[in-house]
């Protein structure tokens, strides 16, 4: 696998099994080794976080896709702003970034997506 990680939402996970992705999300529930998060399109994903600290409400999980609803975290980046993050805007951006007209703008996975 190359070192490219694209930003995704819950809907995109199914097509990217095994890939490393970035998932901006809101933490819903925190447990010892896992977390339940809500992605920018509203879909809920389970995060396996053996040694990864989650310190904020809004985080970006970088990890590999296990299944359409589960991701194995490598790290979690806190994203908090002074309150809420406009997840709709985030989702719009993610959606737009996959459009073919922006192929030159964003790094893509080298194998077909």
């Amino acid at each position: 696998m190359s070192d490219i990680s694209m930003r995704v939402n819950a809907g995109r996970l199914a097509g990217l099994k095994g890939r490393t992705v970035r998932l901006p999300c809101k933490v819903l529930r925190l447990a010892d080794d896992t977390a339940l998060v809500e992605a920018s399109d509203g879909g809920q994903v389970e995060v396996q976080r053996k040694n990864v600290d989650v310190t904020a409400t809004y985080i970006e999980v970088v990890g590999s896709v296990v299944s359409a609803t589960s991701i194995k975290a490598l790290t979690a980046i806190p994203l908090d702003s002074e309150g809420e993050i406009n997840m709709k805007l985030v989702n719009d951006t993610i959606r737009l970034s996959f459009e073919s007209r922006f192929d030159k703008v964003f790094l893509r996975y080298t194998d077909s997506i």
């Binding site: 406009n86 805007l89 719009d92 737009l96």
Partner: protein, 606 residues
């Protein structure tokens, strides 16, 4: 013996308006009697009129002979028992009854015996226009009828004017809404809501004089204009506020350029137009307004007209302006009006109204059809069609009075006249944003006229030497004050102050991805950039240089949305374009991001 068209009399008696005019032609009837009736006083010429009784052998009905056919009677062509063929007839409705008028006929035979044994036709429930109100005691058509007349306007045939008692014989009242060029035997009953002065004009085609009135009834308004000789006849007849019956004016397409009355048509008053004062004014409404609160004046476009109502808080003195077009001096007067929306706005009166406006107290004044201007933000101006009524007896006026007497007088109002130097409304228009290289290349501001533009740029550098100046603390006087030893003196106000109020005057280098430019900012800009008053910043500069430098550094590198004016300036023989900041707005990233998404979705980005 001639064959009469039996059944025609009954049909004429029963058919609704639209059918009648098509029905009648070509039918043979016998005239049972021809009688002269005394001329009514309202006809312009005292002609005789003949009432005839027409029979179809089965029934008889009454009718009038059109005056153009009078000769036939006087010449003896038609008289009792003459059999004729009706070529054309019309039907008017008067006081619940229908009146047939025979407009054209030709004689078939004379001197016959009475044919048949005609009787009076069966009584019929008078049905005139569809959906008409049942004998509603209103002079003009009820809204249901007028809506059907509106539909009839689309077709060429018209539904009849309303029934209901009208004050005069021979005339039934038509709704203003139903007027069209296709029908011209109407009478309207309307109030004169506005009468203009007599105006003269002269252009290449000639010269003349005119005046106009605005007429209103329950169904709508319409403008009427009289030219040249008609002006002399009718100008004195019309009085503002009074109700008149008007008929025989020409209905033309409205010239929207000259009027803002909502009607596709307008009336031309001619020599044969009849105008009669009406003494029964019930049913004709007083002024109709749709008031706009002063706070929403910003949303209206310049040159739009609107109605407003407010308390006159200030009455300016009479001034005079010389019209560039005609080189005449016109008196003008400014009023400041306020309303419940807590906004105040300037309204200008012209001419006679300016001269005559005197009030001692603070009256409620309603204005209809005033023009919105953008002088100093937003302003209002009377035009020839505007109507001003002082202390009108309407609900909004009473509400305003109550509000003002209660709390209004103590309130402070937001003014629509911006103190900023910008004469135009310096709003930030994201759609018209330019980048700096574009601004420079298109030489904005190089012509004599100042031009405005919007952009987004980052502050690259602030000239920190001259950041503010001592200004006169008097409200709105921002002149520089001079230190005269024991105080600071303002030349304009001729007053000395212990301490001046510092105001920002900044020179900033701003840059975006394309280029860099120098912008000049004033007090408002400084407040946004530094978040502190000029007084505070001046203090810091005097006392703590390190803190001052830190403040400068902190304020650079910040991005803002700018609304600027580009103007040419000559400075020691050098002519340069200077960009002044009218508005500086910090970025709301949510807003901006949303706009970017929209832009990406739009066709530009495909």
């Amino acid at each position: 013996m001639s064959q009469l068209s039996s059944g025609i009399c009954r049909r004429l008696n029963e058919a609704p308006q639209e059918e009648i005019e098509q029905l009648a032609s070509g039918h043979t009837v016998q005239l049972l009697s021809v009688k002269k009736v005394s001329p009514t006083t309202n006809t312009t010429t005292p002609t005789d009129r003949y009432r005839i009784i027409i029979s179809d052998g089965v029934h008889f009905i009454q009718a009038m002979l059109a005056t153009q056919l009078n000769d036939l009677v006087t010449a003896g062509e038609i008289n009792k028992n003459t059999v004729v063929v009706i070529d054309r007839l019309a039907c008017n409705f008067v006081q619940d009854k229908r009146l047939i008028i025979v407009l054209d006929l030709h004689v078939v035979s004379r001197d016959e015996e009475k044919i048949g044994a005609p009787t009076a036709p069966p009584a019929v429930q008078e049905v005139t226009a569809p959906a008409d109100a049942q004998a509603a005691p209103s002079f003009v058509a009820s809204p249901a009828a007028s809506s059907s007349t509106v539909q009839a306007k689309q077709q060429q045939t018209r539904t009849g004017p309303s029934t209901g008692p009208s004050g005069r014989s021979g005339k039934s009242v038509y709704p203003i809404e139903g007027l069209s060029p296709y029908q011209n035997n109407w009478t309207i009953k309307a109030r004169v809501t506005q009468k203009s002065d007599i105006r003269t004009w002269s252009n290449q085609r000639g010269e003349g004089k005119l005046f106009n009135v605005t007429l209103m009834d329950e169904t709508g308004e319409i403008r009427a204009t009289a030219f040249n000789t008609v002006v002399d006849d009718l100008y004195d007849k019309f009085e503002e506020g009074k109700v008149y019956y008007i008929s025989k004016a020409r209905v033309n397409l409205a010239k929207k350029k000259f009027s803002n009355i909502q009607n596709d048509y307008e009336l031309s008053l001619e020599k044969n137009t009849e105008v009669e004062e009406c003494l029964e004014t019930t049913g004709v409404p007083m002024m109709k307004y749709s008031f706009v609160p002063l706070s929403s004046l910003e949303e209206l476009q310049k040159d739009h007209t609107c109605d407003v109502i407010g308390i006159v808080k200030e009455v300016g003195p009479i001034g005079e302006i010389t019209s560039k077009a005609s080189n005449k001096t016109i008196p003008k007067r400014d009023l400041t009006i306020v309303d419940k929306s807590q906004y105040s706005v300037r309204l200008t009166l012209w001419g006679k109204q300016a001269e005559q406006f005197t009030t001692d107290d603070l009256p409620v004044v309603a204005f209809k059809g005033v023009k919105v201007g953008d002088f100093g933000g937003r302003s209002l101006s009377m035009v020839s069609t505007s109507i001003m009524s002082i202390a009108p007896d309407i609900e909004e006026a009473h509400l305003l009075r109550g509000w003002y007497d209660g709390i209004g007088s103590g309130e402070s109002f937001q003014s629509h006249s911006s103190a900023l130097s910008g004469a135009s409304f310096g709003g930030f228009n994201r759609n018209e944003m330019r980048h700096l290289s574009d601004v420079k290349e298109s030489q904005l501001g190089m012509s004599d006229k100042p031009e405005v533009f919007c952009c987004r740029a980052t502050i690259a550098h602030i000239k920190s030497e001259n950041i503010s100046y001592p200004a006169c603390p008097t409200q709105d006087c921002n002149k520089k004050v001079v230190d005269v030893g024991d105080g600071w003196k303002c030349e304009k106000c001729d007053k000395t102050f212990e301490r001046p109020e510092y105001r920002y005057i900044m020179s900033m280098a701003v840059a975006d991805w394309s280029a860099q430019a120098w912008f000049q900012g004033f007090n408002e800009a400084g407040l946004v950039v530094f978040g502190k008053t000029a007084d505070e910043v001046h203090e810091i500069k005097e006392n703590n240089e390190a803190e001052y430098n830190a403040l400068m550094a902190q304020s650079t590198g910040v991005t803002f949305n700018f609304s600027c004016r580009a103007k040419q300036d000559t400075y020691n023989d050098q002519t340069r374009v200077r960009y002044g900041i009218s508005k500086i707005i910090p970025l709301d990233y949510h807003e901006e991001a949303k706009c970017l998404v929209e832009l990406l979705k739009s066709s530009w980005a495909q």
